[in-house]
Subunit: 191 residues, 2 copies
DNA sequence: GACCATACGGAACATCGTTCCGTTTTGCCA
DNA sequence: TGGCAAAACGGAACGATGTTCCGTATGGTC
């Protein structure tokens, strides 16, 4: 589903098209760091030295652009799940650590958590995160079933944690990591 | 701080101004229910039968309009805190119930939770909610100090719960009430 | 009834996402 | 090498929205 349909290989596309796409990704990443993922399209286009039409040709929706920029990091997070499960002293600890990883990722990407929700006009983004991360979360929850209340859906947990990360940057009084940890703690079966 | 500076009384203002302001509030409330608090300014103006200039004259920022529409309900929520504390079997239960009340309020106001955060361009809205609700939350937390981990700030808790409510409407798979309850459960001192 | 401060309405401006099409570039083939 | 067709480009143009501004209408008062 998410494989070679637009791989980096020198497929049949023209050279300038590949170069522009790469420039666009680099420019978008740079602009996102400073202005957040809501940065004006014209800004990204200017930074990449292309016209706005070129952005839309390569990335029909903004979600496509954001996914392309962060795909590697999302994948890395997904792949960390099984590894943490193997390395951690208990499944619940693995879940805690994995959520921490996810939160760290989100809070360092200005504005990303906010556009992660459904109905925000970034459906492809929402779908990609869900496709990659919900199964991992479900796996961790299953493994930890004995230690936690069983009645939480992976989807709901991911959305909850994602929501907690909204606006977590530039507010020293709000620590999303801590709240996410509290939420996971609340999952624990009452002793 | 929040008293008679713009009370409903027939102050020195002109009659048509008062009437328009009332129409505007009614129209905004009606439009918010259907379109959410992000509804276009022109829509609200048309519904109230006034020009857009009239909106900006009465409510310089959208936050002012939203605050005016929901002020009564926010106040009611604030006032419910002490009452719940008196009525509930334990302070922690009072906190649970009060959070429930707050969540119920937020999830039924389409898009309100999303604009509640700082830096969203609705600072007056954010400030009003904080002024009214953080002290109440702090009071409940203090009362429940023996039952919970002491190291959570009222501000952080309110923001966390508010965040959990974002996008909770129109998604049957996401139950903000439940996640907020989980978060409060996570506050409980480990038995 | 006249006058003026108050308030009004909506045109005008700025910003942003998105589309569209005339022009340029690239790769290929003779 | 020179020419050509498809691919890609750039940015003007469009639509939606928030916000400002000012000529006009209204309300209260003398």
């Amino acid at each position: 589903m998410h494989d070679g349909d637009e791989g980096a290989g020198p497929a049949g596309r023209r050279k300038d098209a590949r170069r522009n796409k790469a420039n666009l990704l680099e420019a978008a990443a740079a602009v996102f760091v400073v202005q957040g993922v809501d940065a004006p399209v014209r800004e990204i286009a200017a930074r990449a030295g292309v016209g706005v039409g070129t952005i839309y040709r390569h990335f029909p929706t903004r979600a496509d652009l954001i996914v392309a920029v962060y795909r590697h990091q999302v994948d890395a997070c997904a792949e960390a799940g099984p590894r943490l499960l193997a390395e951690s002293p208990s499944p619940h600890t693995a879940l805690e650590r994995w959520i921490d990883l996810f939160v760290d990722f989100l809070v360092t990407k200005h504005g990303l958590a906010a556009v992660l929700q459904p109905g925000a006009g970034f459906d492809a983004l929402h779908a990609y995160f869900l496709d990659r991360l919900v199964p991992v979360c479900g796996h961790l929850l299953d493994a930890a079933a004995g230690e936690i209340r069983a009645d939480i859906e992976p989807y709901a947990l991911m959305r909850g944690v994602g929501n907690l990360c909204i606006g977590a940057d530039n507010d020293p009084r709000y620590d999303a990591r801590r709240l996410a940890a509290l939420l996971v703690a609340g999952l624990r079966r009452a002793g």
